[in-house]
Amino acid sequence: MLGTMRGALRGVVLASLALGMAACTQTKSFVHDQVPARPDGSVEVLLLEPDIELSEISVGGIAFPKADWTERGRSNVNAALVQIMEQKDARLIYYEPPADAPPEHPYNQILKLHEAVGSEILNHKYSNNSFLTLPTKKDKFDWTLGPEVQQLREVYAADYALFVYFRDSFATGGRVAMMVVVGALTGVAIPGGFQVGYASLVDLDSGDILWFNVLFSEVGDLRDAGSAAEATEDLLDQLPL
């Protein structure tokens, strides 16, 4: 019952791993074909429940979620977001999900539509499976959630909505030893921990996805405030604000 979006993202990550393309930190972003001019002065950005999880890779190569690391990672990323937004003269507003709301709730529908749109973007713009590429989206980036998102704009008095997703994992001592030994013996690199994230910025007037970015890194560490700030900056690189 994992979200379709997360499933699509995992596909992208596995594809990157298979190509061995990520030795350091890589990002790939898209900007909407028509980004309206940013309003003058300060803008308000609604942060939609950042989805951040840190885990530990066991010797057997299985990711086990770690609650304490996750808590630290979430707070580091949040601090970094606040700072980056300040530099852009933007104020973060925190979304509060309606309590016990069924899926039919209009806010839930907006979030679920974003998830569906996000997985289409990952499939059609990030996958290296050419079967998934849509000719109607060739050389285009014009996905939208539609003007129905104005409900959020009115309630939160926000201009934009920002979605942030991070997964970060770290090899245990045993896994690291394993990587070293296997590498030395066979020349085959087996994966240790890595960091993957995506973010998207939605115009709360038109509903357009103004910008979308995916990050993949083998060096970041969200447990560390400095490294988390760097990763968050990379993730928000080229944010049109």
Partner: protein, 386 residues
Amino acid sequence: MSRAPTSVAACAILLIASACASTAPVSDIQPGQRPALESDEAGFWMAFEEFEDDLRASSLVVRDPALNRYVTGVVCNLAAAYCQDIRVYLIRHPAFNASMGPNGTMQVFTGLMLRAENEAQLAYVLGHEMGHYIRRHTLTRMRDVRNKTDAASVFGLAGAMVGVPMSGAISSGIAYASISAFGRDQEREADAIGFQMFRKAGYDPTQAARIWELLTAEAEAGDWPSPPPLFASHPPTLERRETLAGLAEEASDAPSSAYEERYQNTILQFRFDWLREDLRTRNFSGSEHLYDRLVEAGHGRGETLFFKGEIYRLRDDEGDDEKAVEAYTLAIAERDAPPEVFRSLAFVEWSRGRRAEARQAFERYLEFAPSADDRLMIEFHIEELS
């Protein structure tokens, strides 16, 4: 490279690996207890909390407040001390199943609710699931997964040394937990704890073995070779039934009740949807067995007989038209037959070439459901049949 240093390396890894997850027995979770933030258990809780967030906003959940209050009430009746720690989610799914997450997320499938004859049978299954929670079985299982995969990859490393390539892919521990089941010993433990709570709450002790009897009979009647999910990992049914029957005998002196009426009255308004979902599984023989049992029990006979007719209408084997008409006719004789029974009857009569009967049945359908959303289509058919 000589052999000695590599085996030293392998041993070193093995040592680290075996130190990764504790194999010590865990104590029961106490009411209100949460794992320490640094622990591996807190990680599993966190992952299930995220899963629970998804579940909460999912379409699979049946949200009727009264039904939810009722099932939660049974949980609290079984173990008042843990009442606050367990959150019940009723899942719209036709399988007989229930499951328990480490953080107190309990999923109860509507297929289980449809099949239980009374509150005692439901309570026995809920007690069993609570047994998994109290004994912290997910934690033990996850540690077991970790130790086994660690060991396997060290053996894989040994293979790599002699030139066998190893797969280094990373997979998700939570995904492992979802596909690997509790072990047999854990199931026995959960049964023992569940039965104790169930007995203490005053439920008829014979009902625990009874629900397994019902399920065995249905599975044997079914079209598919695979057992229902709850069977898959559990101790052999016969053993379990005998154990439970034995426990029931020891406990037979105290007063007890099965609470059949209370249970059936609560689920009555939901049975139509649940039966419809069951029918969609197209396990026609299994459904036929189940519906016959439900008709005999006597609750919601009209709608059950309607669905029994639907089995034959959809299956459409030799002689099924006649069986369908028979079931629909019996349904119509009951007070609670849905208007759709006339529409279905009309189609079957039509396919048997009995056009006048078909037309009459269509007319009765529109009589009982004047605002039916397919009225235009039915009027068109009535014209075709004139």
